[in-house]
C-alpha cells in the first residue's frame, strides 16, 4: 500500500507537475503571441479600407449559410438582420432544416417567395431537398431559402447550403446569431491580405449576447451578462478567442473555427467532404479534415482569427442547457481525437500533427481526466496524512493566481484593443469572474467534460437538444 502511495506521490510530484508547468508556459506564450497578433491587426486596420472594399468590384462573392430549425419566433428579424450586412456581393442561403413550426410559411409570406426550378447539385451528401425558394421582390434578390428534410444535425443542413451556394467563400453562422454589420468585410480581409498561402478558414471573436441590447437584429449596446453563468461564459469566450485563438493564429495553429461564425474556402470544404453529420464537434472536425486535406495535397494553407467581436450569441443561462452543450462539446473532442488519431504526432501533417493535435490531446482532452484523478488522489493522500499542507496550499495558490492572471490579461487585451464596455462597473463585473471561476465554473466544466467522455466511451445515444432561447434585450426606444 505504501509503495502505491509513494509511486502516486512521485508521479504527481514530477510528471504531473511538469505537465502543469508546460500548460502554464503554453498559456504564457499564447498571451504574448496574442497581443502581438492583435497589435498587428489593429495597426493594419483603417476604417477607410472597409469602405473601399464595400464599393469595390474586386470584392470576392460570399454566401452566408444560415441553418434554421424551428426558429419561427425570431426568423424574420434574423433574416432582416442578415440582409442589412455591409458587403457588395453576397447571398443569404437560409436552410430550413425540416422545421415543424411555421418558419417556412413566415419566410414565404414576409419575403414574397416562390418555389423555383433550382439546379441543385449534391456535391456533399445531405438529406433530400424538398424545394428551393427565391423572392419575387427585387429588394430580397440575394435571399435563397432551401427547404429540406430534417437531418437531425446542423452539419447536414449546412452541407445542403454548401451545395446550393454560388460563391467561392461561404460564411457559416447560426440563424439566431447576431452579426456585426461589417462581418463579411472583416472576414474576407485576411483572405485578400495573405500572400503565398491559401486562407482556408477565418474565425472571429464571439460574445455572449444575454444582457446586450439589440434593435432589429443590430447590436446597439454591449453589456456583460448580468446572470452569473453567462458571465462566466463571457470571460471564457474572451480568453478563448482574444487570447487563445489569436495566439494560435499568430503561428498558424488554430485548432477550431467556431460554428457560430466562420468563413470557409468552399472548394477545400467540398474536397474535404463537407461537415460530418455524425460528429458532435462538427466545426472542429471539418477544420481538421480541411487542414489534413491541404497537408495531404501539399497545399500551403493558413487558418486565421481576428480579434474583433463580430458575432453575438445567446449563452445558456440554465445549468441544464449549459451542461448539455458542454457534454456535447467534450464528446465531440473525444470523437475527433479518436477518428483522426493517425494525424497525432505525424510529421507529414506539419503543425497539425505536431502542435495542434498533441496540444488538444494532452491539454484539452486529458486535462479533465488528470484534474479529476488528481483531486481524488489528493483527497486520499490527505486522509492518509501524506500531504505536506504548506506546500500543497502554496501550489494551489500558484495555480489560482496564474489562472486569474491569464483571464485578467485576456480581458486587458480586449479592453486595450476595443473598449467595448461603456462603464468601469461593467468591466469590473467581468474582472471579478476569474476569482470565482476556479472555484465555481471550472469544476462544472470538468464534470461535463468527463460526462461527455463517458458518453463517447459508452456510445450513448444522445440527441442534439434544443437550446431554449430567451431572446435578446431590445434597445429602449427614445421618443
Amino acid at each position: 500500500m505504501n509503495s502505491v502511495q509513494e509511486i502516486l506521490s512521485a508521479f504527481y510530484d514530477s510528471a504531473i507537475f511538469v505537465y502543469g508547468l508546460t500548460l502554464i508556459v503554453v498559456y504564457g506564450v499564447l498571451a504574448v503571441l496574442s497581443i502581438i497578433a492583435i497589435r498587428r491587426y489593429l495597426n493594419a486596420t483603417r476604417p477607410s479600407q472597409l469602405e473601399n472594399l464595400m464599393s469595390s468590384p474586386l470584392a470576392p462573392g460570399i454566401s452566408i449559410l444560415a441553418p434554421a430549425y424551428n426558429e419561427g419566433l425570431t426568423i424574420i428579424a434574423n433574416v432582416r438582420s442578415l440582409l442589412t450586412l455591409n458587403y457588395p456581393k453576397y447571398e443569404i442561403v437560409l436552410i430550413n432544416d425540416g422545421s415543424t413550426d411555421d418558419s417556412l410559411e413566415q419566410l414565404i409570406n414576409e419575403f414574397d417567395m416562390v418555389a423555383v426550378d433550382f439546379a441543385y447539385h449534391e456535391k456533399i451528401r445531405s438529406k433530400p431537398v424538398r424545394a428551393i425558394y427565391k423572392s419575387r421582390n427585387q429588394a430580397y434578390s440575394n435571399l435563397l431559402v432551401i427547404d429540406k428534410v430534417n437531418g437531425k444535425s446542423k452539419a447536414d443542413a449546412v452541407n445542403a447550403g454548401i451545395n446550393a451556394a454560388a460563391f467561392d467563400y461561404f460564411v457559416c453562422t447560426d440563424v439566431d446569431c447576431v452579426l456585426h454589420k461589417d462581418t463579411l468585410l472583416e472576414l474576407i480581409k485576411p483572405v485578400m491580405q495573405e500572400g503565398g498561402k491559401r486562407v482556408i478558414a477565418i474565425g472571429a471573436t464571439l460574445r455572449i449576447a444575454n444582457s446586450s441590447e439589440f434593435d432589429e437584429g443590430v447590436m446597439t449596446r454591449m453589456r456583460p451578462p448580468r446572470a452569473l453563468l453567462p458571465r462566466f461564459q463571457e470571460v471564457e469566450y474572451i480568453r478563448s478567442f482574444v487570447l487563445g485563438k489569436m495566439g494560435w493564429s499568430a503561428i498558424n495553429c488554430v485548432p477550431n473555427v467556431s460554428g457560430g461564425l466562420g468563413l470557409f474556402d468552399r472548394e477545400i470544404v467540398i474536397k474535404s467532404g463537407g461537415y460530418d453529420h455524425k460528429s458532435f464537434g462538427e466545426d472542429m472536425e471539418l477544420l481538421t479534415r480541411m487542414c489534413g486535406f491541404c497537408e495531404d495535397n501539399k497545399i500551403p494553407y493558413s487558418v486565421r482569427y481576428i480579434p474583433k467581436t463580430l458575432c453575438w450569441t445567446e449563452g445558456p443561462s440554465s445549468l441544464k442547457v449549459f451542461g448539455r452543450q458542454r457534454t456535447r462539446w467534450a464528446r465531440g473532442l473525444a470523437q475527433l481525437m479518436y477518428a483522426h488519431k493517425s494525424i497525432f504526432l505525424r510529421p507529414r501533417y506539419g503543425r497539425l500533427g505536431l502542435v495542434v493535435f498533441p496540444y488538444n490531446f494532452f491539454f484539452e482532452l486529458l486535462a479533465p481526466v488528470i484534474e479529476a484523478s488528481g483531486i481524488i488522489i489528493y483527497l486520499w493522500l490527505g486522509l492518509t496524512g501524506n500531504v505536506n499542507w504548506p506546500y500543497a496550499i502554496l501550489l494551489l495558490i500558484f495555480v489560482y493566481t496564474y489562472a486569474i492572471m491569464i483571464s485578467t490579461l485576456s480581458i486587458l487585451w480586449d479592453q486595450l484593443s476595443f473598449h467595448y464596455y461603456k462603464s468601469v462597473k461593467e468591466v469590473l463585473s467581468l474582472l471579478i469572474m476569474p476569482f470565482l471561476e476556479f472555484l465555481l465554473y471550472h469544476p462544472l466544466i470538468t464534470f461535463y467534460s468527463l460526462k461527455g467522455y463517458l458518453f463517447f466511451l459508452t456510445n450513448r445515444r444522445s440527441s442534439w437538444g434544443n437550446m431554449q432561447r430567451q431572446g435578446f434585450r431590445k434597445a429602449k426606444t427614445t421618443t
Binding site: D117, K134, A166, G195, Y402
Partner: protein, 383 residues
Amino acid sequence: METTLSDILQDIRSIYYYAPLAIKVAIIFIIVAVSATVLAYLVMLRSRYRNYRQQRRMARMLPKIDELLMNEIIANPNIPHDVAPSKVALDLEPFDELPLHKRWGREMLTERIIHYRNNVSGTAGDLLRNLYLQLDLDKDAMRKLKSRHWNKKVEALNEFTLMDMPIADVTILPLANSRNRELRAAARQAYIKLSKNEPFKFFDSVTDPLLPWDQVELYRIITTTTDIAIPNFARWITYSSNKSVVSFCMKLVVHYNQLAAVPAIIKLLENRDHTLRAEAIEALGRLKIAEVEDRLVHLYTSQPLFCQIAILKALGRIRSGRHIDFLRNEFLHSTDFDLRKAAARAIVKNEIMAREVIDELLATTTGENLLILKHCMNPLIKY
C-alpha cells in the same frame, strides 16, 4: 517579541532556499502572476481614463472646430472669389482659440479637415487644404513620415494622400519597396495619387505580388483620381514578369475599356499559367471581343476545368451567337455539372440568336439538364 518586515522577508527567503524545486518554481510564478494581474488592472484603469479624457476633449472641441471650419472656411462669404483658393490668405486668428500648440489639438483639427475635404469638392476642398498648409499641420505628418515606426509612416502617407500633398519621388519610392506589407501598400497608393511624373512607375520594379487587398485600394485610387494620366496597360501585360501586376492591369483594361491593350491580352492565351490564362479569357469576355471567339473555342478542349468555364462564360458575355452549336453540344454532352451550367447560361445569354435552340432544348431535354436550363432562364436566380 515584535515581528518586523525584515523578519518576515527573512522567513520567506529561508522557506524558498530550503524548498524543493517545484515549490521554488511555484513561488516565482505566484510573484509573477500577482504582479502581472495588478499591472493589468493599472494599465486598464489608465487606458480607460485616457479614453475618457479623449472623449471629453472631443465632446468639447469638435463643435468648436466644426463651427470654425464652417464659418471661417467653407461658408465664409468674405473669402475672395477672384483669387485661386490655394492662394487665398486666410484669416487664421479665429483658430487661435484652438489648442494647436498641443499635438492632440492639431490631430483633432487635421482629422476634421480631412473629414470635410472628403465630403466637399471644388473650392471648399481647396480652401481646406490651404488652411491645412497655412496652419503648418503638414509638419506633423512630415515628422511622422520620418519616424522609425512603420505605422506612423503609414499614417503620414494616408494623410498626405487624402490632403493631396505632393511628396518627392525619392522619399516615397524606397517606401514603395519596403519589406513591410502595410507600408509598401500605403506608399504605392500615395505614389499613384501624388506623383506628378510617372504614377505607375513602380509597376516596372515591383517584384512581390500585389495582394488582392492592395489591388482593391490601388484600383479605387486609380479609378477615382481625376487628374491622373492613364497609360496603355498593354506595356505591363506584355513585359511584366510579375503575374499579379499583369492580372491587375487586365482589370484596369476592362475598367477603361482599353481596346488598344486587347492584342496583349490575346497573347496571354498562350501563357503557361492557368490562372492568368483564365483571367485573360475573362477580360476578353468582359471586353466583348468577338474576334477572339474562334480562338477560345479552338483552345477549349486543351484547357483545365476552370479555364473551360471561363471560356463558356466569355462566349456568354460576347453574345455574338456564332457558337451556339458548340455551347449546345457542351450543354448536352459534358459530364461536369459546372460546365453544363456555364454552357446553359451562355446559351441563355445569347437568347436573341439562340431562341430556336432554347425552345428545342426545353422540348427535348429531361432530368438534371432541363433543371439546369430552367435555372439559367429564371430571372429570379442571379447565379
